[in-house]
Amino acid sequence: MTMLLRLYRSLLRLFPARHRSTFGREMSAVFQQRQADVRNRGMYKRSAFFLREFMSLVSTAIRERARHSELPEPHLAGGAAQTTFDSAPAFYTCEPYFPRRSALLHGGILSLAVFGVASAAFEYGVSHRLFRASLGSSQTANQQQFIETSESGFVAFSRSLVASADGALTLVLGQQPATAAIELKPGMEKPAGLWSNLLLLLRVRPHLRAGEFQVQGFTRTTPEEPQRDYASVYFQVMPVLRALDADADHILSAAEITNAPAALHSLDRNHDGKLSPEECGQSSADTPADAQSLKRAGLEFMRFHPVLAALDTDHDGEISASEIQNAAAALKTLDKNGDGRLTQDELLPDPVANAVFFVMRLDTNGDGKISKDERSSALAIRYGELLDAADQNKDGVVTREELTAEIRRRAEHN
């Protein structure tokens, strides 16, 4: 009760000083008496009383301030403007009062500004998600973590994570190994005290057309195990392998093979019962727009990756419902050494073939050659030096064979 009295007294400060000095003590004395009146009433009556008291205190204070700041003073209980027509008595419970024009203008501007700031903050918050996942500690660095999103946002991770890594941390974006990778080298500056806990924010903006966008976690690049690193990136960017490899050890065990139909069903995003090249991980940004070459790119994609080629038994460019049913049997055909499980050498495409596959995406008409016309895209310019070197007979056309030979030569040279 004393708390409410104190609140009442502090609300009295809203009144103009003149009003407060004249009536202040009296008002709180009367308030106390009224408070005593309702003390033994019910909860509802009491709260109604307090609500009415405080509301009217605030509104009267506003009105008093307006009255004292405005000249000429409005007439008692309504001004000349409020004389009702045919002078009928008007029983106002709230005396009509109209604020100054400048006050209305300022109020309008202020509320527009507040609205603007609030909605801007809301917009920003909606379009910039913070993907924290569990990339925060060095323990989790060598586990695979996946964030799938079609929104832009920030990836947060601690500085000490980067600093404590043995090798570089690689953040893979997009669905193809070649799309983008950001390498975070172990920090040159030593993390100390407070700063080590600071999060580094990496801004992520999906630039892929339509399709899903993925931030595919960090992998610890350990120099001792180059093969494993290639495998882990490959497993991450291939949704089919990611789904099949339930324990993320980069080996498909017998149990995982048996469970393949269920795992593949989880990839069927549009629930049509079959898996399209996109659902198998083909990046839609890399494929040409027209339907024919889209289909061809899909076929090539499905043929190139050993695991997809095995699953798509009729090679029609998608994994049908019946092929999903028979997935376990189809996968067993990959088991060359017959040990009942699939290891990396049985699942991964040859690195040279892999590289050829990605460069050959430039071949938009699908004739097995990269012509001069096909070398005008931004991607082709990036590969310019490689293509020039591959063009052994200098006829301006790079064939698949020429490209394979050049890439193999470079691979062996390294």
């Binding site: 008692l76 209980a77 419970t93």
Partner: protein, 111 residues
């Protein structure tokens, strides 16, 4: 009417406060109780409304403030000024005329 050529209509709380003071001088709390009693509990004034109205009535010199002789030092009482009484009477007369008119027009009377 020599005070106000055309006194504006009074709001119901203000009218009730004036009527309450017309009977006898009162202090704040007593006005609240009297208004409540007069309107049979329909009009319950909050302290904010009461003192807002009293402030305006004081400024317009319809009422005046005085210290009650016997009461404790905080007790201030209010009474009508001659001007206030005149304006109240004018308002009541106007309302009387209106109710007479209303009775004539509204009541089911064969004319």
């Amino acid at each position: 009417m020599k005070s106000d050529p055309s006194p504006a209509p009074l709001s119901e709380p203000v009218l009730l406060i004036l009527l309450s003071l017309a009977e006898q001088p009162r202090h704040g709390y007593s006005i609240l109780k009297d208004v409540e009693a007069m309107s049979a509990g329909r009009v319950v004034l909050s302290t904010g409304t009461l003192y807002g109205a009293l402030g305006r009535l004081l400024d317009d010199r319809w009422i005046e403030r005085f210290a009650e002789d016997d009461a404790s030092r905080d007790r201030q009482a209010y009474r009508l000024t001659p001007k206030g009484r005149q304006n109240l009477l004018a308002e009541v007369a106007r309302m009387k005329q209106l109710t007479r008119l209303a009775t004539l027009r509204v009541s089911p009377k064969e004319a």
